[in-house]
Symmetry: C2
Subunit: 160 residues, 2 copies
DNA sequence: TGGCTATACTTGAGTACGCAAACAACTATA
DNA sequence: TATAGTTGTTTGCGTACTCAAGTATAGCCA
């Protein structure tokens, strides 16, 4: 048994590179989040949460739907919203037709915060990605990545 | 101020999709890791750590180099190796020429564990990715993703 | 109407990191 | 050859999650 342990598996190197690249993404996301925290005191999840709310009807969403959009578990959403509520960017709102659900609703302060942060954040995202890819490349990439299961679920739930 | 809050930013939707897709990857990685844990008691980081060691000269690597390969901080590596040492898959080895460094060296048990796990793991990776992409698409994707900063750093450190 | 399962959400416990600080040992510089 | 800076590693603390279990409501079907 020598060091070609796994090389009898065809095309391992491609798959292997794949996993490494996936992991690189986590680092890229972390970098975006760190900038946002430094400049505006929001994590990338905070930001995206506010963003999704700002686009929703009545600027409010059920926690379950937010979880799907953010690719988080329900408990993750509860704790994310805890922070945003404490900061005054989001408030709870109950649902007339279903007593189980509590909406998360964007406040005026939350909307303002989002607007303040968006310029810098979009610039950061651009810096990270647009510098490296042409328009068509970006589209191609989005199309390819969109085939992955979780990503697809998130994208679907955006379009209706 | 209406709900087109940010729509005056050109091509936001592409960037926006981007960030969401990136986040989807974290979920994909988690899924791979969960399978590996269930079937073999290794996290994906454990697995990749063993894999990198198995390919290294003398089946040993400095912690710093391992950190770069795994896209982890040095402290993350210390704790990852803690677990693998406790399980007997990796052992410490000192360096003659530099007293600061301690190598992580793969044990026979570690190599065996890696071999046991590799079949299932490679199958899982294939299932996740290869089903969705053709060979050329996979290459294109790897090329595009390789331009991101962290990924590039990891890839570079592999080739010398 | 009374149970049964499904859904929405929260809570407690555990984990896998990162960051900053500490320390030791190398290296270059003057 | 002292000394300043760099590099490799570990440790303490904080955080952002997950998972499993618990509670409450909803809707269905006998």
């Amino acid at each position: 048994m020598s060091s070609q342990v796994l090389s009898n598996q065809p095309s391992l190197s491609a798959l292997d590179a794949w996993v490494r690249l996936l992991r690189g993404h986590a680092a890229a996301t972390r970098e975006l989040s760190a900038r946002l925290v430094a400049e505006h005191g929001l994590t990338i999840n905070d930001y995206e949460c506010l963003l999704h709310l700002s686009r929703a009807e009545e600027r409010a969403l059920r926690r379950v739907d937010l979880a799907e959009l953010l690719i988080l578990t329900p408990s993750g959403v509860t704790r994310l919203l805890d922070g945003l509520e404490r900061a005054g960017y989001v408030e709870k709102r109950s649902c007339d037709s279903d007593a189980r659900v509590t909406y998360a609703a964007l406040t005026a302060a939350g909307l303002q915060k989002l607007q303040e942060a968006s310029g810098d954040h979009i610039a950061a995202v651009r810096e990270l990605f647009e510098v490296r890819f042409s328009g068509p490349e970006l589209e191609k990439l989005a199309e390819l990545l969109g085939r992955l299961p979780e990503a697809a679920a998130a994208a679907d739930s955006c379009s209706p």
